[in-house]
């Protein structure tokens, strides 16, 4: 057992650090630092830089245009990216549909879709959730009926992130009604400019527009856009589970960004004649969060080492999701707490200057409520751990 990185890994870290120093510009850095999520266009611009560096897909194997990095290299990259306030890469294409396409897709699909994901030209969104389904994803109702060499899709998706900017959507649709609801589901790749698709914005509690409803009205999708076999779509998501472990492990690192910004704010706020950061109650709350983050970091490192060794981490992926989401909520709560009465100010009237990180902290606090809901609510994660890992 040891925590040391090899000399090659340390050299790699220097290379990453140099790249980030040269490529993360001031405005981008500030946006990431204050917890704002960059717009799709900005993320795409970042992806183009990563592409130019040859790093467009840090988690993909070389044969599909990825870097072929080891989990440790990926971890080093993410550690440095968090430290440098680099934006995250476009997740839906790179981590969700890309790997499904290169694992289960046809050669034609690989050739058509993968390069545009790598280059950042394509922006994918995910058509999985439906109104009325919630965490019970498999009860989806959107239908696709075969008509000659097309599928005709009718139905509705919801909570579709950045559908307003997407070029493509990957959709789970029901092609047959079976007694077991996980059967008869197929996976379709659909161009967003296909006639019959309508996108309706949903404004979330942080007052941002990042999710949508997507309506399908007689949308004709070429049959060649079916991934794998008809009716087997539910199973293809499994390829993501194994990959996800390493990714969620790395994602935990980004928490440190919030802690830094909380400390910066609390150092600037005055309380009882000193800095809020020195106030014992506040300090204890912060230390408690940091010590739990240390545990999460340890869990991440162990998960990563497992991935590196090809060993099963059991339920640790779900555990990381649960603990990460709980912690990010508490950190952003503390950030908003540090603001004091500034947390009560969201948007200045015209002509008034906005104050510091004020709207971002409140928006971040509000936005993070969703982290214990999305990707399988934490209650569902606990059900899964109880059933699969504990045998209850």
């Amino acid at each position: 057992m040891n925590l040391a990185f090899s000399a090659a890994e340390e050299a790699f870290r220097q290379e990453v650090r140099a790249f980030l120093a040269a490529n993360v510009d001031g405005p981008m850095r500030e946006m990431v630092r204050t917890g704002m999520r960059p717009e799709p266009a900005e993320i795409q611009a970042w992806q183009r830089r990563m592409h130019a560096q040859g790093w467009s897909a840090p988690t993909w194997p070389r044969e599909h245009g990825g870097t072929g990095w080891s989990p440790t290299q990926y971890f080093i990259y993410e550690t440095e990216a968090a430290r440098a306030y680099a934006p995250v890469q476009p997740h839906q294409g790179l981590e969700l549909i890309g790997p499904i396409i290169f694992t289960y897709g046809s050669e034609a699909q690989k050739a058509k879709y993968l390069p545009r994901i790598l280059s950042g030209e394509a922006w994918w969104c995910q058509g999985y959730s439906e109104p009325g389904a919630g965490s019970d994803l498999a009860s989806l109702k959107t239908r696709a009926v075969r008509d000659g060499d097309h599928y005709v899709v009718n139905g509705q998706k919801i909570w579709t992130s950045y559908a307003q900017a997407a070029t493509n959507i990957f959709c789970l649709v029901r092609t047959e009604v079976k007694p077991r609801k996980q059967e008869g589901i197929s996976l379709l790749l659909i161009d967003m400019d296909t006639p019959g698709i309508r996108v309706r914005p949903i404004i979330t509690l942080d007052e941002r527009h990042h999710v949508n409803e997507v309506f399908f009205d007689e949308v004709r999708v070429p049959a060649e856009n079916l991934v794998g076999e008809e009716g087997k779509g539910w199973g293809y998501g499994k390829v993501l589970l194994d990959r996800e472990r390493g990714i969620s492990a790395a994602g935990a690192l980004r928490l440190a960004q919030f802690v830094r910004v909380v400390k910066e704010r609390a150092a600037a706020v005055r309380a009882a004649g000193g800095a809020l950061l020195a106030e014992p109650d506040f300090r204890t709350k912060l230390a408690q969060i940091e010590v739990e983050m240390l545990a999460l970091e340890g869990m991440s490192l162990r998960t990563l080492a497992d991935a590196e060794a090809g060993v099963d981490s059991g339920p640790r992926g779900s555990m990381l999701k649960i603990r990460w989401s709980e912690l990010v909520q508490r950190i952003t709560e503390l950030w908003a707490e540090a603001l004091g009465t500034d947390a009560a100010l969201m948007e200045p009237y015209a002509g008034v200057e906005a104050a510091d990180d004020m709207p971002h902290a409140t928006a971040a606090y509000l936005h993070m409520r969703v982290t214990t809901i999305y990707g399988g609510a934490n209650e569902v994660q606990r059900n899964i751990i109880a059933r699969r890992a504990l045998g209850l």
Binding site: S129, A133, G134, S135, D136, S139, I158, W159, I202, I203, T204, L205, E207, V269, R270, A271, A272, G273, L276, D281, F282, Q329, E333, A336, E337, G340, T341, D342, A343, A344, L345, M346, E347, P348, Y349, V352, E353, T362, Y365, L366, R369, V370, T372, I373, Y374, A377, E379, R382
Partner: protein, 372 residues
Amino acid sequence: MDFSLSPEQQMLRDSVERFAAEHGDFPAWRRRVAAGEAFDAAAWAQMAQLGWLGIAVPEAAGGMGFGPVETMLVAEGLGRSLCRVPYAGSCVLAPALLAESDPLLGGIVAGTGQVAAAVSEAEGRYDLAHVATRAVRLGGGWVLEGAKSFVPDGATADWFIVPARTTGGVADAAGITLFLVPATAQGLEVQRHRGPDHHHHARLVLRQVEATVLGEVDGGLAPLEAAVDRAIVAHLAEAMGSMEALRDTTLAYLKTREQFGATLGSFQALQHRMVDMAIACEEARSLLYLAALQLDAPVMARRRAVSGAKARVGQCAAFVAHQAVQLHGGVGTSDELAVSHHLRRLRVIDVLYGDSAHHLRRFAAATDAMAA
């Protein structure tokens, strides 16, 4: 000892419930917000008609001369219906400081003259005694110089109550005087903001602003603190209305929403969460009563009850609001349901006149003082 309402109070409660039901139409609420309306003027006018804006105003000044219980009943209804009006500041805090003969009281009761309290300074966090804004005699009057970092519902105020230092050092308890400043005063800059709760708040910058003394020179802190404690209880009652609305709407959702072939409410883990939300509401209501009924108690007993309630209700409210969002799942995070707006209003109420952490310390200090 008695926690029951008098027949008059019951009538008031019923009337408030009808008001809340009428004004609880959420699509209409959203349209008004989207239109940029700074507060709910129609509800405000109706409250004036019903006499509610004068509940805490003496009868001699045209009010109803009622006490904290009646104030609480009205504020609960505001919380339940997310009604965006400057009630606690203008109708509870201000009347506690104005003399019975003050002509402003007429405007308060009629809803035509809003008064807001500018008690926060950037360097003072939640300490009411931290007053760096200075008042200097000029001719027969006073001029103020300084800044106030947060005025709840201040964007639409016609008058501001502004504590300023007349003697002593920045954080001294003595030497603070309260002043009245009209929103139109020369040298006063009102920086208006919309809050996450869609209330419209303000910051003030005062540059040689002429002002009128309110109460005793150098003796402003004690009456201010007493008035703020009354406003806090009104806000806690509002929070209570919000919390119970969240509890009820979440319970109804659990009973109807189906997932994995069963209603959400059939899952034991969610049942227990719902029970904990109900317990949090019971705790909050109990503390609210203790605080409301001790507003006229000796100062340390009042402080202990009010700060204890502010600290713990804040925690209970955060728990209830977070769980209401969680149990609603995705739709709980959308702007389109009242759930997230209750969360946002409760978040703002927590920072009004001191957050949970601040009031926990004030509660502990009062507890010590009473034991000593």
